[in-house]
Amino acid sequence: MTALLDSRSMVLRSVETVPGAHLRSLQRISRLPLGTLRHHLGRLVSHHDVDEEQDRRFKRFYPAAMAPRTRRAWDAIRPRQTRAILEVLLEAPAIRQTVLSRRLSLPDSTAHHHIRRLKDLEIVAETNGLLHLPRATEVAALLAAVRPTFLDELTDGAIGLFDQLEG
């Protein structure tokens, strides 16, 4: 019984560590057999400790206490380049997009793509041509909590390589 509860709290901790992770990612993090993981996730969802959301063909799992707006923000800040943009905006609270792309050595088109997404999610706002973070404290907390997976690192590395071709 204790082992069962330990496994369940481990699954809950995994969901809290990487909110929005898919089943397979959670399996890699928790190292539990898939059937066991499915069972515990099912229980956690039915007890309203964890919420599941359909994302195309997969389900993402979030701590139930996480607000929908924070979930979307969490999903958006996972890519390394997005995190780098937000880190610059935390250091320089009002900055032009061109200056930001130059500081990160990002092609303008790539920076534009990331910033547009962040603006849509109301994480970044623009006033008189200057970008800023209306919810800087929340963004700083999210950035501190991000733990990229190995596949995330590989993907970010590949994005960086392809961006160099644009430069």
Partner: protein, 94 residues
């Protein structure tokens, strides 16, 4: 079941292509960089070609003795997509 050398090579190639394929597809979905989409397509075509060859060589598809055309078309399409990946100029936002 004894695998022929061709089937083994095709199977190993398929396995090796899974990770770059997934990484490029995830990269495209995150960055919407069209160059990454072309590269992911090139890997997908390469994978499909080798998968078809694998099925032919283990006897699940007919024509194991005549796979040259499949190989040729697959290689040509892969090479064309890779050439486009590294030569096309993309203007504006991805």
């Amino acid at each position: 079941m004894a695998l022929s050398q061709e089937a083994l090579f095709a199977g190993i190639t398929c396995l090796l292509l899974v990770v770059p394929g997934v990484v490029l597809l995830r990269g495209y979905l995150r960055s919407r960089n069209p160059r990454m989409m072309l590269a992911a397509l090139a890997v997908a075509v390469f994978f499909t070609t080798d998968f078809v060859l694998l099925l032919a060589h283990i006897g699940w598809l007919p024509g194991a003795e005549e796979t040259e055309l499949v190989e040729f078309v697959g290689d040509l399409a892969t090479a064309a997509l890779l050439a486009l990946t590294f030569t096309l100029r993309f203007e504006g936002a991805p």
